[in-house]
């Protein structure tokens, strides 16, 4: 068993990167991810890793450096947040479209304007369609575990895609909590040796990256990108099974909590899922059949598997820590997509919560569950989308 420590989410992810020892990392500071790469840069400085750290002048350059290094044939990582991810936007598509397995912890933070440094999922949700694999972590342990698994998943020879490992800004990134580290040798062994595919630095076999493809084959190229995404769930589960053998900690495409016999379900991601579980226990003690589903993998989204897990419930509340103005929350849209395949469709409501770091308090979870109880009884939904935890 590894060492048990009290660390922040950022510290845990930096430790994972140290243990993995990537060939190249690029870094540009942005709150609340700054502390993660700052810690990693100390490892570089202290000779704890062999990584070549490229200190760049912007996040656009950070992702560009990662793309170059990955295409050259290296194992590559970086980390960012919010505006940093937004500035990377153009390069995110290029990383995925070029099939480069870059691993990036994303410390979820709100987007400007107005300027706000606190946690919500607006940044990650904005990158939903970039072609990156996305994981969302409930706590520091999951952020650490997901980072290690991400290297195996992204670098898998059937996949070769970049992976974002998300955790809630400040709530997880800056909270100290108990984390169980894996032994260095076990992490090293688990992620294995990096296998370069078509490296630019193989000078005997010259290649070209970033070609122009017009109406002749672009359409097919994009279909191929979708096809590779369909192979991701199996790899994620295989890697999780191996990870469980090593650590005893089990991961799936999503997590269910007291859902098997539930009549109602709350669907929520990241740290808010932890708080919700505590409240679910209180309602369960009173005999209320309520359960939870916490998506871990948001891209690709496991529609079929989630539909099967939710098919027996009468009412679902989907909690989004991001919004699509003039539309439903992004997680709600995915869950309705999953529900589409069900024979009998549950009643559904969408709650937008916690934007810009607004605390998600137990009473908010209680209000949501109380409303679900009413909806399950009557089958009537008054308002589909609502903001909760709003100051009046």
């Amino acid at each position: 068993m590894g060492k048990i420590v009290a660390v922040t989410g950022n510290e845990a992810c930096a430790e994972a990167l140290r243990q993995i020892n990537p060939d190249v990392c690029a870094a540009y500071p942005i709150t609340p991810a700054t502390d993660l790469m700052q810690r990693f840069s100390s490892f570089v400085n202290d000779g704890k890793v062999d990584t070549e750290l490229v200190l760049v002048e912007s996040e656009h350059s950070a992702m560009s450096a990662c793309i170059g290094a990955a295409a050259a044939g290296g194992r590559v990582g970086t980390a960012t947040s919010s505006q940093g991810l937004a500035l990377m936007w153009e390069m995110l598509y290029i990383a995925a479209g070029t099939r480069l397995p870059i691993i990036m912890p994303l410390v979820n933070r709100a987007l400007s304007a107005p300027l706000n440094i606190h946690g919500d999922h607006s940044d990650g949700m904005g990158a939903r369609d970039t072609g990156w694999i996305q994981f969302y972590s409930e706590n520091a342990q999951e952020a650490y575990d997901n980072t290690i698994q991400a290297f195996r998943i992204g670098e898998h020879l059937d996949i070769r895609l970049p992976v974002m490992v998300c955790m809630d800004g400040f709530i997880v990134s800056h909270s100290i909590e108990r984390v169980e580290y894996i032994e260095d040798a076990d992490v090293k062994n688990f992620v294995g040796k990096f296998e370069a595919v078509n490296p630019l630095l193989d000078l005997d076999n010259p290649k070209s990256y970033g070609p122009l493809i017009l109406t002749d084959l672009y359409h097919e190229y994009k279909r191929a990108q979708h096809e590779v995404m369909t192979k991701v769930p199996k790899v994620v589960l295989d890697v999780a099974a191996e990870f469980e053998k090593m650590t005893g900690r089990s991961y799936g495409l999503f997590e269910t909590y007291r859902l098997d016999d539930a009549e109602m379900a709350v669907v929520v991601m990241s740290s808010a899922a932890g708080t919700t579980k505590d409240i679910i226990d209180q309602y369960r003690d009173r005999g209320v059949k309520i359960g939870l589903l916490k998506p871990r993998m948001f891209r690709p989204f496991p529609y079929q598997e989630i539909a099967e897990a939710l098919q027996h419930v009468k009412a679902i509340a989907v909690l989004d820590r991001a919004d699509s103005f003039g539309g439903y929350g992004p997680l709600f849209s995915e869950i309705t997509g999953a529900v589409m395949s069900m024979n009998s469709k549950p009643a559904m409501i969408n709650k937008i919560f916690g934007l810009g770091g607004r605390d998600y308090l137990p009473e908010q979870a209680e209000h949501v569950i109380d409303e679900l109880i009413e909806i399950a009884k009557t089958g009537k939904v008054e308002t589909v989308k609502e903001y909760i935890g709003v100051r009046e």
Binding site: A6, D168, I171, I176, E177, T275, K277
Partner: protein, 191 residues
Amino acid sequence: MTKAIEIRWHGRGGQGTVTAAKVLADACLSGGGYVQAFPEYGPERAGAPIRAFNRISDNVIRMYGPVLHPKVISIADATLMDAVNVTEGAPDDAIYVVNTSKDPKEVRAKLKAKDSQKVFAVDATKIALDSFGRPLPNSSMLGAICKATSVVDMDVLLENVKKSFGKKFAQKIIDGNLDATRRGYEEVKEG
């Protein structure tokens, strides 16, 4: 919900309140428990009122967000009793630990504490000045909290104070802080 001891710290920016919450988390972790330690993030200015939180439990802690009903309320600067609502959400069995030169009975009256609530007073700043010459009350507050709440074993706490200060400071400062922790433990008074 799992049974957890929840602590709210009131301090002023620069006093080492957040460090104290971290050291307590480390100490409770080495005692075998699950822990959380986190400050409330706002504009960080020296002297501004700040809050920090701990959750300590034998079981996995899943709850995120501020502690709303702290069993233990640590007030590292007595002037905060006039500046912020330090009694907010305090349950009937709350334990207050206040850094003050005043008598704990006076503090009890000031807080309007209920009979079922405990009030402890310790002159943590004076102890700090005696022990290492700087008005940073966190080590003596930790000792006082240890005595008032038994949340952690004193030897384990001392070990973690040593570890925490050992990373950054000279032996003299480490010894001073260990001394301050011990004196906080010994000199805290209930009233």
